[in-house]
């Protein structure tokens, strides 16, 4: 036995490979290339000799396995009899079950055409999924109208509570601030014409036609849409949705309908609330900072506010609510069966809600203009 060394060494000597020193995860890894080359170039069996191996762990084994691979490739045999007891047995254990054919998944580099094609296929599948989900929602709605849908009224109340009253705080804060911002922005321009009084009209119009509904939609997308996707996704992971299905209870009726009803009912109410608070926020700025008399401000505000304008905002809000419910429920119901899939479902529920909200907003605005 050689003197105990601090560095692992791999030396080639003729057809033998000499190992010495400690082979630990914490020590440096020796250069294996000369030995690998020696295995490749020689013939007959390769003897690996223990020339004073100190402590060793899996590091030694990975080296031996590397030699083994090289030897197999060169059609030679590896003689390990000289190595510490256990090394040979560990090698045999590692080789006991041959790698499963086809188990190695090689990431092929995809060409541009292939990537585009795959992308198109995924998008197509998603579109089909979306349409078939809409179809199922429609069927479920049909059952609801005929009074045959099966869900618990209690669930509707729970959902209404969580997407309505519990959202009041954040809706209040955001609406007041948006109203105030509208007033500030309006004041900058209108001030140039000494027409600050029209800030009232701007705030009223802006909130009722647009911002009230849009902000409520965005809040619902982040708060409620994500929650729907996560709840239903987790139920999917826990097989709870399978359990409903095998009882013959359509999950669409039992899980999706209460959520859609809750949002369809609560969103218009939230929009009215948001409009009111937004106007109050704008009024605060107008009255306190722009010195518009309170009376004048409110007279101006109500002057331009027709029932039709308010209805526009409500129609938008209602649409947004339904879109958020659809996106959230669809992502949740189509969720995969793992924890990360639930996260993805929540994320994509928010993203698709936002996209759909903005697109729907544009469409409605155009329709109302004509």
């Amino acid at each position: 036995m050689a003197v105990e060394e601090q560095q692992p060494r791999v030396n080639v000597s003729g057809e033998e490979i000499h190992l010495s020193g400690p082979f630990l995860l914490s020590t440096e890894r020796p250069d294996l290339e000369p030995a690998a080359r020696a295995i490749q170039s020689g013939s007959g069996s390769v003897v690996i000799k223990d020339m004073g191996i100190g402590e060793w762990d899996s590091t030694l084994m990975t080296i031996v396995m590397r030699f083994h691979e090289e030897a197999v490739r060169a059609g030679r045999e590896l003689n390990l009899r000289n190595l510490p007891q256990g090394v040979q047995r560990l090698r045999d254990l590692a080789l006991a079950i041959p790698p499963r054919k086809g188990a190695e998944r090689k990431e092929k580099r995809k060409g541009m055409l292939e990537s585009i094609g795959l992308h198109a296929q995924t998008n197509w599948k998603e579109t089909i999924g979306f349409i078939s989900f809409l179809g199922e929602v429609a069927q479920s709605l049909g059952r609801l109208v005929r009074g045959k849908a099966r869900f618990r009224a209690h669930d509707v109340w729970l959902q209404i509570e969580s997407c309505g009253p519990q959202a009041l705080g954040i809706v209040s804060l955001i609406s007041v601030l948006v109203g105030a911002i509208l007033a500030f922005v309006g004041a900058v321009q209108l001030g140039m014409f000494n027409a600050e009084v029209y800030v009232a009209n701007l705030v009223g119009l802006g909130m009722v036609m647009e911002m009230g509904a849009l902000m409520t939609g965005i809040i619902l997308a982040g708060r409620t849409g994500a929650a729907f996707a996560a709840q239903l996704g987790t139920m999917q992971v826990n097989e709870e949705i399978d359990a409903l299905q095998t009882l013959g209870i359509p999950p669409m009726d039992y899980l999706v309908m209460p959520r859609m009803i809750a949002l369809a009912v609560m969103t218009p109410l939230l929009v009215i609330y948001a409009n009111t608070l937004g106007i109050l926020g704008g009024a605060t700025v107008g009255i306190l900072m722009l010195d518009i008399p309170a009376q004048v401000f409110f007279i101006k505000t109500f002057e331009m506010m027709t029932g039709w304008l308010c209805l526009q905002g409500l129609i938008k809000g209602c649409t947004f609510g339904i879109l958020v419910a659809i996106a959230g429920c669809m992502r949740g119901m189509n969720c995969g069966r793992s924890a990360s899939a639930v996260g993805q479902a929540a994320t994509s529920a928010v993203v698709s809600s936002l996209i759909m909200i903005v697109v729907a907003d544009t469409i409605w605005t155009l329709v109302f203009m004509i």
Partner: protein, 255 residues
């Protein structure tokens, strides 16, 4: 549960079933039947499609080919109404229990009763308590699934599966994640249910102890050939199956 005349068809029959996920073949050419009051084991190595077969039997997945017959009725051949009727006759214990997490144990058991019976609220509560006490969970009515242990959750899920006194019971790996004593208790419960309720039971499992303790009929799925390679009483297969793969499996690889 009524006794059937010897000539009546087997209550559950699978014919030339082929299972696929997309283009990926899982199993094909499955033909077997389950007799009344059998405890039928679906066994095989990991990843051979046992749970998938179960999903096909309970109608969660539509077969790529072949059919599943309940008595004389082809499950997928009929109308939605006939599927519903069959489903009401099936109780399922999912691998994770799959209790609805927003409902208490009693409410979980009550859902099928509310859907499919004309019982009043008080009677449903009584039924739910009774079913819970059958599985040894008396007094846990108002607990939520997240508040009880894994073994208790499985038993609660069993109570829900029993809610409508189904003729068929399906178990997906009932003893997975349970300690040996709880697993044994669950096995005893399964035997007891078969004897008292007269149910026909199919179980997906690879717990040898359970297989020999309660199984009296079985099918063995093979992952390599992608079809069934044996069927019959597992105790008989252990020693007399011509296929060494099955004997090795049933001997824990010590052949």
């Amino acid at each position: 549960m009524t006794d059937s005349s010897p000539k009546s068809p087997p209550p559950l029959r699978v014919e030339e079933l082929e299972m696929r996920y997309g283009s990926f073949l899982i199993q094909s050419d499955l033909t077997f039947h389950i007799n009344r009051q059998d405890i039928f084991i679906i066994m095989g190595g990991s990843g051979c499609g046992k749970s998938t077969l179960l999903k096909h039997l309970i109608g969660l997945v539509r077969p790529a080919k072949g059919s599943v017959y309940y008595g004389e009725t082809d499950y997928w051949g009929g109308e939605e109404a006939s599927r519903q009727a069959i489903m009401q006759n099936i109780g399922i214990l999912y691998q994770q229990g799959a209790l609805w997490s927003s409902l208490t144990l009693a409410e979980n058991v009550a859902v099928p009763l509310k859907e499919y019976s004309d019982l009043g609220a008080a009677e449903i509560r009584e039924q739910a308590s009774y079913k819970l006490s059958l599985v040894g969970l008396a007094g846990f009515d108002d607990f939520y699934p997240s508040e009880i242990s894994g073994g208790m959750r499985k038993r609660a899920a069993l109570a829900r599966a029993l809610a409508l006194d189904p003729e068929f019971l399906f178990f997906d790996e009932p003893s997975a994640g349970l300690d040996p004593v709880s697993a044994k208790l669950l096995d005893d419960l399964i035997l007891e249910l078969r004897d008292t309720l007269g149910a026909t039971i199919a179980i997906v499992t690879h717990e040898l102890a359970s297989i020999f303790a309660i199984g009296n009929n079985s099918v063995f799925l093979d992952a390599e050939t992608k079809t069934m390679i044996a069927q019959g009483d597992p105790k008989h297969l252990r020693d007399h199956c011509p296929d060494p793969k099955v004997r090795t499996f049933l001997h824990r690889g010590e052949l």
